[in-house]
Symmetry: C2
Subunit: 146 residues, 2 copies
């Protein structure tokens, strides 16, 4: 199996509300919108985020956990790396204004970086990170340290 | 907020077992291994998958759902696109041999493609997909149709 990810799909309770959060709230552009079914957004080189009607997802993929009604958030984190600690809090402010139900502003972390969290309307957690120990080479390879 | 994803982090019950599944089972290479804490694997242009000790994740990010003990799988899908329907089932066979607890071999889908699923040891679902209606341009942009 090739070492690659092409699409990450989140099951969402209300596709239009999810679209509005990402597109109107965060200012992103959709690549494809199928009303009441799915929205695709490009989030990297050859990489898509899909916001899929949770009922349709369950019909194809089998039972999934209910994130929206739970007091715990989904056991994944979507990481968004930025160039400075100031930008971490700037992005979190945008998410808060976009209607994020849970925002933890940035903290200095023991591993040397600065990060905070927000969740989207369905409880999917994004970590906004400034990590001075991680860099991306021109060819896209990620390098830790130095 | 820039429209990008840098890291996707999965909370895992046993970091060494998760490493073994991805590295020994699927044949992937780790970028960084911190024993009993976290394993990073490159899964795209400037993109990492992190397998993080679920207790450590909870300590930093707050309560998360327990995927491993649940009968439902995590409400996300990690998509892996391949060039043919045959490759879909070939990859699913590799995942089965690697110890995946749940494998659904490929089916023709109403949207015109062919896909199947496997879950990793913690219940995170990968969809292996042949989608003839989706292509990646040389610059990494994803295009639907034609």
């Amino acid at each position: 199996m090739e070492q690659s990810l092409s699409v990450i799909t989140l099951g969402v309770a209300d596709v239009e509300a999810a679209r509005a959060f990402y597109v109107d709230g965060l200012g992103w552009e959709a690549t494809l919108v199928v009303p009441d079914d799915v929205v695709f957004l490009q989030i990297g080189h050859g990489m898509l985020l899909a916001l899929w009607n949770a009922e349709h997802m369950t019909a194809e993929a089998g039972p999934i956990m209910d994130t929206r009604g739970s007091s715990a958030s989904a056991p994944i984190t979507l990481g968004h790396n930025v160039a400075s600690a100031q930008t971490v809090d700037d992005v979190l402010r945008v998410a808060e204004e976009a209607g994020s139900p849970l925002v933890h502003y940035g903290e200095h972390r023991e591993w040397g970086g600065y990060s905070g969290y927000f969740t989207d309307l369905d409880g999917y957690r994004w970590e906004i990170v400034h990590n001075p120990g991680l860099r991306v080479e021109p060819d896209g390879r990620v390098v830790f340290g130095g």
